[in-house]
Structure formats: C-alpha cells, structure tokens
C-alpha cells in the first residue's frame, strides 16, 4: 500500500500555483503549460486550486510584505511531503525589480525553495521540467525514514 501511494505521487504531481507579484508573464506561462500545445497533463501534472490537494507549490513573482503572509499560510496548509518551485527571475532574486521598495528579493527568504527555474519569463518547457524535478525531490523526501513528515498519509492509508 505504501508503495502504491508512492508510485501514484511520483507519477502525478499536483500543483498549486500562487502569484506572488509577478508581471503575469510567468503566471501565463504556467497556465500555458496546461493548454493543448504544452499539455503537461500527460505527465500527470494537474493544477489544483486547493493547497490541501497539492504536492508542489509553484510560486511566481517577487514577494512583497502583504503576500508573504498569504504564501506562508498556503505553504503550511500543504501536506507533507511537499516541494516549492520558484519560477522566473523575480522569484529567484527580485530580477529587474531589485530597486523597488516593496520587494523582498526572492521567494527563498520566505519558503525553502527546492527548484529554481530561471528566465524572464521561463519557457513552458522549463517550467514543466522544474515541476518534474521537484517531484523527484518529493519522492526522495518521502523515502527518508527520519524526516519530519513520517509519511503520514501513507500510514493512514495502511491503517484503513
């Protein structure tokens, strides 16, 4: 049963996307990933709106003080094991907005970021690649025996 959950999780990463103040370019590319031309659903990547359903949090954009709170809240709602993908130059370092007063220069000051996808805006292929890389990270993490999360969902599954 445990293995089954593992397999499912690896083959079908569900993502939740949060726009933390990007120029919308990256957000659109994330959405464009879902459309017929780039169609990431064939990899099992599904965009969900509910953080409780998701394995991977895709963050685009620079963080500011107001949405950092929302972002942290969103991250904490996600079940373990989870991974964070930072998409775009703004999410990595602030990019061109490094001079702006309301910019926190990157998501990694707020959340532990697993995968960095550079580019402004990154191509949809790069985003899909980043999500798949994050899944490998999630996979590793769920196999770690002494990690904090202790594979909670899997245990519950077994008890049933």
């Amino acid at each position: 049963m445990f293995n089954f959950v593992h397999k499912c999780r690896k083959k079908s990463p569900w993502i939740v996307h949060f726009d933390a103040g990007a120029c919308n370019g990256c957000d659109i590319e994330v959405l464009a990933c879902l459309t017929p031309v780039y169609d990431v659903e064939r990899f099992g990547i599904i965009n969900v709106g509910n953080p409780k359903h998701a394995d991977v949090l895709v963050v685009t954009g620079t963080c500011n003080r107001r949405n950092a709170r929302v972002l942290r809240n969103l991250y904490e709602q996600m079940p373990e094991p989870r991974a964070v993908v930072a998409v775009g130059a703004c999410a990595l370092s602030g990019g061109i907005f490094h001079e702006c007063y309301n910019v926190l220069k990157g998501v990694d000051g707020i959340l532990p970021v697993d995968v960095y996808v550079p580019g402004c805006a990154p191509r949809p292929e790069a985003i899909a690649e980043g999500v798949l890389m994050a899944m490998e990270r999630v996979e590793q993490r769920s196999r770690e025996p002494h990690s904090q999360m202790q594979a909670e969902p899997a245990e519950r599954e077994e008890r049933r």
Binding site: P36, F43, A89, S93, G95, H98, Y116, E129
Partner: protein
C-alpha cells in the same frame, strides 16, 4: 452532421501538442541564455552598466566577469552594449536547478598583457 465533421477532422489531424522533451529545435534568434567569450574581452564593463537587472558585475583589475543567471531577465542589452562581440545570446533556454549558486558564470581571469 457538424459533429461528425469535427470527429473526422480530429481523428486524422496531427495533435497540436509538442512532444517532450526537446523534440523541437530552438528557433533562430530566440533569446535564451547569455554566454561570455572572454578571449577578446577588454573588461570595459559596458555590459554591466547597461544591464537593467544588475546581473553582470565586471571587475576590471581582477579581470573577471561575474554573471548571475538568476537575476538575468534576458533583454539582450549586454549583447548590444558589447563592442567586441564577447557577449552572446544562446538559443537554448536555461534549465532549472536545485541550488542557488551565487555566481553561475565566472569569466576566467585571462593572462595579463605582459604575459601574452
């Protein structure tokens, strides 16, 4: 009737999805990643000055260029600024990575003039 036409068309047309990974050759002229050719570089620093995101730092005495890929916005200003043609735009896009290195690209401190 219209539906039948649609069904037939969908059956025989090519899928619009692009195959992954990397079946499609990059289009010429696409702005992908910045690359430096330090052979002719005089370390004038024009690329760093023109960069709107301050991703390039040129250290003239030490003859190094540090380029932060994670700050780069791919505007190709540096390519236009370089008189020597040392800064080039590669067509391949930048791949995601697990770490955040401080300096992804470091131009080698080439030989001093006396040594040449």
């Amino acid at each position: 009737m219209r539906m039948l036409r649609n069904v037939m068309r969908n059956l025989f047309s090519r899928p619009s999805t692009r195959l992954e990974p990397q079946r499609r050759a990059p289009i010429p002229g696409v702005r992908g990643t910045v690359a430096f050719e330090t052979a002719d570089c005089v370390y004038c620093g024009a690329c760093g000055l023109r960069c709107p995101a301050k991703a390039i730092e040129v250290d003239r005495p030490a003859r190094t260029i540090s380029f932060d890929l994670f700050k780069c916005v791919g505007c190709a200003c540096c390519v236009e600024a370089c008189k020597k043609g040392c800064v080039q735009m590669r067509e391949a896009y930048a791949h995601p990575s697990y770490q955040k290195p401080d300096i992804l690209f470091q131009g080698a401190p080439v030989l001093k003039r006396e040594e040449k």
